[in-house]
Structures are given as structure tokens and as C-alpha cells.
Amino acid sequence: MTSQASIDPEADDIEQRFRAAGVVVPADRVAGTHAAARRLLATLHWLRPPRTAAAEPAHIFLADREPQT
């Protein structure tokens, strides 16, 4: 993974996340596993607009949102 990580920061990040979780992906399954992880991480920007703690609208729920880029 080293050579791939050096040219692909996202792959490096995914590798680091798996390592932190204690997961060693079998070599023959790395490509598909990383692709699945990329798809999952790509959804995260829909979850929550970045905001400071001071701006946190606790217990106020609004479903309208735009994707964060």
C-alpha cells in the first residue's frame, strides 16, 4: 500500500483508519475494500454542516441542507 498511499492521500487516510481499528485487510481484497470505504466516506458530507460548538443548535432539527463541499 505504500506506493499507492504516497500518490493518493485518500487511500492513505483509509489505510490509516483501518489500522486504527485494528483491521488487516487480506491483500487480495484490498482494492474492493478500499472502494467500499471510499463510497461510505463520500456520504459523510451529508450528515452535518460544519459548525462551531457555539453555533450548535442543540435539539433543533432541520432536514433542509445543502451538501458541504
Partner: protein, 474 residues
């Protein structure tokens, strides 16, 4: 004794009437069911285990009960199958995985307890995507189920064997599970009915979990009435399922047969019309279904719900976080025991953080509030697509896990709403198209009423898969 037509085409309701009138015995029905499975299963791979001897014995018991005037309910004497994640005492329950290939539970799951107490006849266990999530894999103990409308195409999943078995007339009832659409997706792609009741309506005790807070159990059947009859038997509070709801169970068939006058149905057209996976034939079929419901007396108008991408993000994060938590030890210690698809998909949950899961749970509450206090406050039910195209061919699936797009089912796992998948037509390739009717929490009867009226008026379910050639090849 004159048998009432081809037995594999009888609905549960029709078979029940024949059983009670003495026109038919459960033993004859069960023998015919086993013969049809023997003829078709080698090509369709719906069943992974048959419980032949037990089925014949239980059928004989049902006949004895009828002879004595004992009637345990609408499923007495009716053969059925269970997705192979439903735990069954003394019967192998594999989750379609090498990991549990020899797993034999000691106790029945709650649904099996109810079906058995109701006099049903368990025929066997049905194939699934591995652990209800992998995909149509060829590296598992059993081959993937094939679509009865064209065996070169997959069934959808994960209740793949359940949909194939019902669509091919092997059984009239197959139980499935639905975490992101695993009942409604295969039902739509195989042209059957599939019903995900409200979260908490049917106990999941003893069913192998995919994601605790999104899992639902429900039936796949050929007709809406059969789904209602099944729900009548399996619904109800179970204190041993932490998510089970102590809510009264109504008579699900009571409102059937009425027109749709007085109902307001929200058509979620703007929810899917810009989706890149949408095919024109799905739009046409859904527009026609909306018009049909209006003709039946409902007021149908367009409504808005939050964007699919927001629901999908919420559903994906919660599902994979929970699934990873369930499988973490086995994923780390024996990854090779999983097929490629299931491994790659489930282990991806390891990259999520605790904060990601918390944000998804907060969003879930926002989304549920937006639907329940929005479109489902002003309307009795919603009309939406299940999938945006017909079933893909097996050749579309490669070596590694991929997500096939165009299923719009997981929003209603996020909200926990009752959602009924039903066929609405066919694509130009002859494969089925489907819609879903979504209701207010614990108001399954309105959803079933709409489905029943539409089914009768549209006539779509009168079409059957072309299986003669498969039968002859057996």
C-alpha cells in the same frame, strides 16, 4: 376430490378456502409444493435447505386439525419458506455463509414460533445475500438465486431466495428481512409483493441481525391479501425484542375491498425524477399507477420529502457501523471465511468514527420528523418507486463488491415507516417494475388497502414468469 386449479397458482387465501371446504388437503398441497421445488430449484437456487420430512408430517397434522374442526388461523396447512437468517431449532441456519455453514440453532426465532403455532408448514430455508448484505456471490456455500423472469438476471437482495421462490410459485409465502430494502428490492425485481411493516411491529428475535436499529422482518407473497394474512399471524409485541412495540394489532383485511375514496396519497415524483439511474419506463409506470389510484377514488398530488442522498448517507453510516460492530471479531480473526462481497462491504464500517455515527443518528431523527410531520401528516400514504430500473444481469457484477444504484428503499428504514412493494408493470426486457406505498407509523392497514385496490384494478399480478421451459429442463 377436485383440486381447485393449478396448486402453485393458488393464493394463501384461495388455498385456505379449499382446505377448509375439503376440496384440498395440506398433504396434497405440500407434496405439490415439494414437486415444484424439485423441478425448479436446480435452475433457480431459491432454497438452500429443504425440510421435506418435517413438512409432510406437519401437513398431516394440519389435515388432522381441520378434520377435528380446529383452526389455528389463515396459515394453517400452508407451506412457507424462511430466509436462511431466521433461526430454526434443529434446522441448519447458515446465513448463506461458510462462517455458519454447520450452525444449527437450539431455538426457533419468534416469527417461526408464530408461524408454527399458526399451523403453517415449513418447507425449507431460502438463499440470501451473505449475512443479508453481500451480493449475488459465487464464492459462497450455495449459488445465488436466479430471477424467475429471466435466470440470467439477479433477483435483487438480500432476500433473494425468498423472491425467487414466490415469483416461481414454489411457495406462496416466504419470509424476508429488510435493513435497507432487502424485502422490497427483490420483491420489485421479481414481480412479487413484499411488505416491510413498521419498525417494531414484527419481532426480530432469533433472526441474525444486519443492523439492529434498521432491521425489519416481513413477508414476500404473490398477493396483497396474502401479505395481510401473514402479517396478521406474525405481528405483535415481543418483550424479548428490545425494539418491539406494544401496539394493538388490528384486522389487516378489514379495509380490503373498499375503494380509495377519502384517502390522500402523496406522489413523491420530485424525489426521484432527477436520479441518474431513473429509466423512462419506470417513470411511465409510476405515473400510470398514480393515475390508477386517483381513478380508484384517492386524491393524488405531488409531495416533497428530503433528498434521497441525505437519507442514503444516514442509512449507510448507521447500517455499516452497526454491521461492523456485529461482525468485528470474525472480520479480524477469519476474514477468509466471508465471501468477497460481504467482507468488503461490512469491514468498510471500520473507517467510521463515533462522531459519524452520532451525527447519522441525529440526522435520522430530523429525517423521520420531516416525513412524519410533513408529507405523512398531510397525506395518508406516499407513492414512491422501489427501484429505478429492472433487474441487472449477473454479468454486471464483477470480482469486487459494488453498489448497484437506483434502489430507493432505505429512506423508509431510516424512518421505520411501513412500506409495501408491489408490481406495477414490466420493462421492455420483460422484467418487472415496482413501486412502494409508504404509510404512517403502525398504519399498515391503510397501506394494504391501497395496495389491494391497485392490485385488483391494474391486473399486473395476473402475469406469471415463463417457467415452462425451466420445468421441462429439470
Amino acid at each position: 376430490m377436485n383440486a381447485p386449479g393449478p396448486l402453485h397458482e393458488l393464493s394463501i387465501a384461495e388455498a385456505g378456502r379449499a382446505l377448509r371446504s375439503g376440496q384440498l388437503t395440506s398433504l396434497a398441497l405440500t407434496e405439490a409444493t415439494l414437486a415444484r421445488i424439485d423441478a425448479l430449484n436446480p435452475q433457480l437456487h431459491a432454497f438452500v435447505t429443504l425440510t421435506r420430512d418435517r413438512a409432510l408430517a406437519d401437513a398431516a397434522k394440519a389435515d388432522t386439525a381441520f378434520a377435528r374442526g380446529l383452526d389455528a388461523g389463515p396459515l394453517q396447512g400452508i407451506p412457507y419458506g424462511l430466509k436462511d437468517i431466521y433461526g430454526t431449532a434443529g434446522i441448519r441456519t447458515t446465513c448463506h455463509s461458510h462462517l455458519l455453514h454447520d450452525h444449527i440453532p437450539e431455538v426457533d426465532c419468534a416469527v417461526e414460533e408464530k408461524l408454527r403455532a399458526g399451523g403453517g408448514v415449513l418447507i425449507g430455508k431460502l438463499g440470501t445475500f451473505e449475512f443479508a448484505i453481500g451480493g449475488p456471490s459465487f464464492d459462497l456455500p450455495f449459488p445465488p438465486a436466479r430471477n424467475p423472469w429471466n435466470p440470467d438476471h439477479f433477483t435483487g437482495g438480500s432476500s433473494s431466495g425468498s423472491a425467487a421462490a414466490v415469483a416461481s410459485g414454489m411457495v406462496r409465502l416466504a419470509m424476508g428481512s429488510d435493513t435497507g430494502g432487502s424485502i422490497r428490492g427483490p420483491a420489485a425485481l421479481c414481480g412479487t409483493v413484499g411488505f416491510k411493516p413498521t419498525y417494531g411491529r414484527v419481532s426480530r428475535r432469533g433472526v441474525f441481525p444486519l443492523a439492529y436499529s434498521l432491521d425489519h422482518c416481513g413477508p414476500l407473497t404473490w398477493s396483497i391479501e396474502d401479505a395481510a394474512l401473514t402479517l396478521q399471524v406474525i405481528a405483535g409485541y415481543d418483550p424479548r425484542d428490545p425494539a418491539s412495540a406494544d401496539v394493538p394489532v388490528p384486522d389487516y383485511t378489514a379495509a380490503m375491498g373498499r375503494d380509495l375514496a377519502g384517502l390522500r396519497i402523496g406522489y413523491t415524483r420530485r424525489f426521484f425524477i432527477d436520479n441518474p439511474f431513473l429509466t423512462p419506463e419506470v417513470t411511465k409506470a409510476l405515473d400510470a399507477a398514480a393515475e390508477q389510484m386517483a381513478t380508484l377514488g384517492a386524491t393524488v398530488d405531488e409531495v416533497d420529502i428530503p433528498a434521497f442522498e441525505v437519507f442514503d448517507a444516514c442509512a449507510q453510516v448507521i447500517m455499516f457501523a452497526e454491521a461492523y460492530a456485529i461482525h468485528e471479531t470474525d472480520l479480524k480473526t477469519r476474514p477468509g471465511a466471508y465471501g468477497r462481497y460481504a467482507y468488503q462491504r461490512i469491514v468498510s464500517g471500520a473507517v467510521l468514527s463515533a462522531a459519524d455515527l452520532v451525527q447519522a443518528q441525529r440526522l435520522r431523527r430530523e429525517l423521520t420528523t420531516a416525513v412524519d410531520m410533513g408529507a405523512l401528516r398531510t397525506h395518508h400514504a406516499l407513492l414512491a418507486p422501489t427501484g429505478l430500473s429492472t433487474a441487472a444481469p449477473f454479468s454486471d457484477f464483477g470480482k469486487d463488491a459494488a453498489r448497484w444504484g437506483g434502489m430507493l428503499t432505505n429512506p423508509f428504514n431510516v424512518t421505520g415507516s411501513p412500506a409495501l412493494a408491489l408490481p406495477i408493470g414490466f420493462g421492455s426486457n420483460g422484467l418487472p417494475l415496482g413501486a412502494q406505498i409508504v404509510g404512517r407509523p403502525f398504519n399498515e392497514e391503510t397501506v394494504l388497502r391501497i395496495g389491494f385496490a391497485y392490485e385488483a384494478a391494474s391486473g399486473v399480478s395476473r402475469h406469471r414468469p415463463p417457467l415452462d421451459e425451466l420445468s421441462k429442463a429439470a
